[in-house]
Symmetry: C2
Subunit: 425 residues, 2 copies
Amino acid sequence: MRVGIGILGGGVVGGSLANKLLTERDIIRSKTGLDLHLVRVAVRDLDKARLFPAEYVTDRPEDVVSDPEVQLVVELIGGLDPARGLVLAALDAGKPVVTANKQLVASDGPALFEKAAANGVSILFEAAVGGGIPIIRPLSESLAGERLTSVMGIVNGTTNFILTRMTDEGSPYAEVLAEAQRLGYAESDPTADVSGADAAAKAVILAGLAFGVWVDLDHVYSEGIEGIQPIDIGFARQLGYVVKLLGIAEVTSDGVSVRVHPALVPTQHPLAAIRGAQNAVFVQGPAVGELLFSGPGAGGEPTATAVLGDMVTAARELLADAPVAPRVRIGAGEVREFGTVSTSRYLRLEVEDAPGVLATIAGTFGEAGVSIRSVWQEGRGDRATLLLVTHAGPEAAHDKALDQLSGMAAVRQVAAVMRVVGEPV
Amino acid sequence: MRVGIGILGGGVVGGSLANKLLTERDIIRSKTGLDLHLVRVAVRDLDKARLFPAEYVTDRPEDVVSDPEVQLVVELIGGLDPARGLVLAALDAGKPVVTANKQLVASDGPALFEKAAANGVSILFEAAVGGGIPIIRPLSESLAGERLTSVMGIVNGTTNFILTRMTDEGSPYAEVLAEAQRLGYAESDPTADVSGADAAAKAVILAGLAFGVWVDLDHVYSEGIEGIQPIDIGFARQLGYVVKLLGIAEVTSDGVSVRVHPALVPTQHPLAAIRGAQNAVFVQGPAVGELLFSGPGAGGEPTATAVLGDMVTAARELLADAPVAPRVRIGAGEVREFGTVSTSRYLRLEVEDAPGVLATIAGTFGEAGVSIRSVWQEGRGDRATLLLVTHAGPEAAHDKALDQLSGMAAVRQVAAVMRVVGEPV
């Protein structure tokens, strides 16, 4: 019942995992009946101090993949290359792969699944979305019989940490980002997180599992949190909302839509309560209603736990010599143009405080085909701040209205635009 | 790829499921690659109107089990008998079983798992806990590598509905129960729900999967919600708590403890936000931190979805002719006497408002080995209401203090006692 394990990547997750395999081998065996035997760990820098003995270390990942003692490959390098080549080589050698690599799965998912199936093995990636939260398996197995309609989540801990701090303290983005970097919640180059790119990859994976359609990352509308101002977080709160960065995957009769953007979420929505670096995924379907999965979205230990759960499944599959893990089934499906997707918007406009201005602005929205749900105006002498929340309408119609507003003399500035998800009770 | 399905029980869940199999067969096939073919449904009353055509109906469940066309048996009768005999017969015939029967799994779990393993098939029961919420599979598979320390949940929708209404409206238990019965949230005989027995069965299952130890139902301390008064819900709120009925499974070096009782939960705890008939399970472990799974805890459609997810796994296993579902591994383990379990308590005492009474009461707790965390006293002439929240201490020590209090002349009445989980921030 012994299964040889090779780990690619000795960073936070890889180190936690190697350490867990070495120190908790007996517990894992008694809980699962499997002897997960660490063979080798490929690292970039042989001289760096590690959580596990140096005898396991190599700097040649391809040797780990080809080692005959290694029966199961765990890829924790991240990024597209060289991870892609190593994963493909492992699958070609008939070795199951467990990975936490959201970029690779998002970009190459269908090709990887096909390669795995052709070699009669699995590629498992529970840790690629939501860190330690079990979400991949519930979507692909427990909910296999449900016609899910939407999967929506806070899937990036860095941005949720930053937004939570901005909300609690009213501090500007740049200041909170610097704090997050100091505390280790944000990378020194935070672009992938704050731009929404990380969340976009995860949303593609969630959509693929929920709807069986793999959306190209190029077709994902993605907007980050860099432009969010504390004043709008404050206004949102007054209107009954919290600002969150959401990854949203939806399916309608018009096709599948995947997008990432900041959104005003009603304070009583389950996602509004997810604070700090926590992650959560909110799933809806006609039969199952609403499900929420929440927990730690990142970190070495939670992620290593998710990886280990997949390793147990992969090891069982090796021993059974039969497909134990569910095969991901990807079909063809319409991907919606973002312009046709229906959203509500929050806008903050700086306008002339003169008679007729509000009527003109309202008229502009009406002409574009967008109706206004609520308006709040605060005058200050000859100018006023106008907050608008619209009803749902196509993105293209919103953009048209926005274009017109930007060109109006009475509108000094379109100071903020964010989307709104749901209505406060 | 066709798998013949026999359903035992044509009630709310069985009807939903049969209807789903007939109307969504193509969708299930395209999502899973499996053709789940409904063969027969055993019902108690042949003449009752059903959601599915009468041609599928029989009133002889044993014929469904023995039908050679039936390859997979779904047990939705509930209760111990005749469900137990039918499930065992199916397993003996080498047919995998999917069940939503928490009583049967809680009482006979290890015997059922053994019987299933001996016949090389699975018994799956995702729907037995938390209705449509995927929790069984995450515990037994995704978290297989984690040394979980506690699983705590709101696992009974009826009692959570009643407590939520009592909280919102300040109405007495009996009145809200009657309303719940009118609305279909409580049975005409609500005993199993309100007494905590239903939650106890679910807590046994959660403990078994999380810790690998199956606790006999007789060793589960279980207290229902019948005695809860709106005044204590109000006081709890003032102190920063919400009152919930919790199923709690914990493991420490002293062994496993499973219990069900009302508890004061801090308002900012994730379980405090679970309202109405919703269910939620809160899982803790050293590596994974805190996970929350929430969703609809009952209802035909959500439960049928959970059953269907299990059917897909069982069908894949049949076709692979190898163990696809994880085998539940139950070992020996210490079960803690409830008296040794450490809890905090909330008490409401009606006392004489005289000098020295508070000191005497505090002394009584001290002698019993329980220390007091906070005290709130409201005088009304010669008597006073005293609210106490203690620090954690062994149940036996609490009981000793309570005994002494009850015998004190200055204590007119111990008006309420509830346990407290966690501290408000």
